[in-house]
Amino acid sequence: MISRREFVRITTAAGAAMLVSFNTSCRNKISRWRFLTGEEISLLDAIVEQIIPTDDFPGGRWANVSNFIDRQLDSYYRKHQVAYREGLSAMGMTVFQLKGRKFEELPFAEQTDMMEMMESGTFPGDYWEEHSPAGFFNMLRDHSLQGFYGSPVHGGNREYISYRMLGLDYPNIIGQNRYKDLSWRIYDAKSPANGK
């Protein structure tokens, strides 16, 4: 008899492996993402859009927040790889059990309900081992805000959209612009998220 802990590990690993093979066979090319799978990205895109929704300014999805997170999981946030693999899988499975549909296919308001359950600790934690739904929610929230408001050099905040939103895109004092960091333009040309 295998423990619950092992069961989750095996099933999430198998699920991830399945997704990877599905991706590669269908698209017949190397994944455009560094750590996350295409399936994980489509869930994450819906999540970051919940954290920073579109209104008269674009939201987290448009701003390439998922790309920011994927890039960090392959560099500064390697330590969070397990949390993301487990958390996204657990979240996806739980929502499917509760609603019979994928998170990203739910109406926006129902997604918000799910997010609020995660935040408040009322979300079922059955599929989680290392982390809790609330802990994972806090990490998702903080990383999404970093991706939306941080410098575009890290792969998010596409075209400095959050700076435009706050009226910070052009400094008031002539001359400062000489020192604005424009390296993200070069970076983005190489980014797999470019041309989205």
Binding site: P53, M115, S144, Q146, Y149, G150, V153, L166, I173, D181
Partner: protein
């Protein structure tokens, strides 16, 4: 090949070490200045908030790195947990040429005369090792002045009735107030307070071969693109190198002060840029590695005569670590108050420094440096929703309609708030790591709450429609204002150095950084550390001329 013997090794090229290296090199001593970090430039960092020294979720851009440096911190369950430089519980300052003075906000405060005689003024404080400094304000005043002129300070004390006595004006005129500064100035007058422009180690006009400030919004936490902000990296360190007497060795991690059998220092052991163990023999060792790392180095320098670490036979090295109990308030406004004129902090009142019944010390109150967009996501009234459309609405509405006022409440030195070295855990080089523990004194909380009240009153008078306070808690890890771990004193039983920063127990080892502070004032400590650099460095040169330290 062995390194050539020199007169002095200076460990750490920050505020204290940079000044000492320059004083010694111009005084004719041969100097090796060793720094564990490297040179940094604005171009490398830009306006990247996620690796700034202010908010650092990805890394501390100005060092040290997470790959080779860590500490232990209390886990809240009587155990210890490993922490990294970009966690608050590590208590980081910086690690690079210039150290904190590259990325600091550059406030240029002199401590009040009373800060040097706190115990005489307030009496003994139960639970605190509060003591007078062995040195008076009158003695240090010329060195404050030297720091203000050599490094470069802009200010105007005319409207501050509580300004510490000074013989000369500041070398540069004060900065003009930004939009929120003007609003706050008028409100302060209405409250009967005495607002004045914050003195800054930043050029308001071209000075010392460097241009004037261009008022970037990214200042505190970032390098300056034009070099208008003065640090040791663009003032005294280049001056030291220019003498030809000083060699700067970067990417070198000092592991130990070598002590001979007669109880004198022979030099230091360090790991060079290729991680090879090296020895640098010298007549004098000056330790200026910050309050936490200077204490760690002394504690890690064990020898026959000093089994508990260099200069630590009385057990006082690493004790009494202090920072500041920052406290303040936020206010939301109907109209835009943000005008994007950096660095933001520009106006202060000294009314609550030593003028509070029932509270020891107190602190200056200032408007805060500009909060960048990611940092602003955590600035909310209690019980706010921190994500979703409410979050975004708040960002859009209030980023340009809020003001923050806060101040550094003076902390009481507590003997059990301390830096130790961990008996087991070692860093990348195999050097035992620091562990920092202990809780704040109750007076700090009381003083913080008082300052927060006053900050809130100021914001309300300025027209804020909604305000809330931010008050300090009991637990904190001293970081950018860390001080006090090798305090100076006249009594060798209850201090680590004499009034010249010379170890009581080892006469050719000196300390020159915030570690010397007996208390940390109600102000940002950078100018005091710079002044102490001149004080200690000048004394070493005088001694050298007499005896050659033989």
């Amino acid at each position: 090949m062995a390194n050539k013997r020199v007169n002095a090794v200076v460990v750490g090229a920050g505020a204290g070490g940079g000044v000492v290296a320059k004083e010694l090199a111009t005084g004719g001593l041969s100097v090796v200045l060793i720094e564990r970090g490297r040179w940094h430039s604005y171009d490398e960092h830009g306006d990247d908030e996620l690796t700034s020294q202010r908010t650092f979720p990805l890394k501390c851009g100005f060092g040290p790195d997470n790959e080779r440096n860590w500490r232990m911190s209390p886990d809240g369950k009587n155990g210890w947990v490993k922490v990294f430089p970009n966690q608050w519980s590590y208590g980081n300052n910086a690690a690079c040429v210039g150290s904190g003075t590259v990325s600091y906000g550059a406030m240029a405060w002199r401590f009040q005369p009373d800060d040097f005689r706190l115990k005489s003024k307030y009496g003994a404080v139960p639970g605190s090792t509060l003591e007078d400094w062995p040195l008076t304000y009158e003695e240090i005043e010329p060195f404050y002045e030297k720091a203000e002129y050599e490094i470069g300070v802009a200010g105007d004390p005319t409207n501050d009735p509580f300004v510490p006595p000074r013989k000369k004006p500041y070398p540069m005129p004060a900065f003009s107030l930004n939009g929120e500064g003007i609003i706050l100035e008028k409100a302060a007058w209405r409250l009967g307070l005495h607002p004045f422009p914050i003195p800054m180690l930043r050029n308001s006009v071209p000075y010392n071969g460097r241009p004037a400030c261009i008022r970037m919004r990214t200042c505190v936490g970032y390098a300056c693109p034009v070099g208008a902000k003065a640090g040791t990296q663009n003032t005294v360190i280049p001056a030291a190198l220019k003498t030809g007497n000083c060699e700067l060795r970067i990417n070198c991690m000092v592991s130990e002060i070598m002590i001979d059998d007669k109880g004198r220092a022979k030099g230091v052991r360090y790991f060079d840029a290729d991680n090879r163990l090296q020895e640098q023999v010298s007549d004098i060792v000056v330790v200026s590695a910050s309050a936490s790392e200077s204490a760690r180095l002394l504690l890690n320098s064990r020898s026959r005569l000093f089994p508990a670490g260099a200069g630590n036979n009385n057990g006082w090295v690493g004790r009494n670590i202090q920072d500041h109990a920052y406290a303040g308030a936020y206010g939301l406004f109907e109209e835009e108050v943000y005008d994007d004129v950096g660095p933001g902090a520009c106006i202060a009142v000294n009314d609550f420094n030593h003028r509070i019944p029932g509270i020891i010390g107190g602190g200056v109150l200032c408007n805060e440096f500009i909060r960048m967009p990611y940092q602003f996501t955590s600035i909310r009234p209690r019980n706010s929703k921190m994500w979703g459309i409410e979050h975004k609405d708040f960002q859009k509405r209030y980023f340009r309609r809020h003001i923050a006022v806060h101040g550094p409440a003076q902390e009481m030195p507590v003997f059990d708030k301390k830096v130790e070295v961990d008996p087991v855990v070692r860093d990348f080089w195999g050097i035992p790591v620091a562990r920092i523990s202990g809780s704040r004194h109750d007076n700090d909380i009381k003083a913080g709450r008082f300052l927060a009240e006053k900050a809130e009153e100021w914001l309300k008078e300025a027209g804020a429609v909604s305000t809330w306070q931010a008050v300090p808690g009991k637990e904190s890890t001293p970081s950018q204002h860390q001080s006090g771990t090798c305090r100076m004193g006249n009594d060798p039983a209850t201090s680590v150095t004499n009034k010249f920063g010379q170890l009581h127990e080892i006469d050719n080892v000196f300390i020159a950084d915030g570690s010397l502070h007996v208390n940390n004032g109600g102000y940002n400590p950078a100018l005091t550390i710079l002044a102490l650099g001149y004080w200690v460095g000048g004394h070493i040169v005088d001694m050298w001329k007499g005896t050659k330290m033989k």
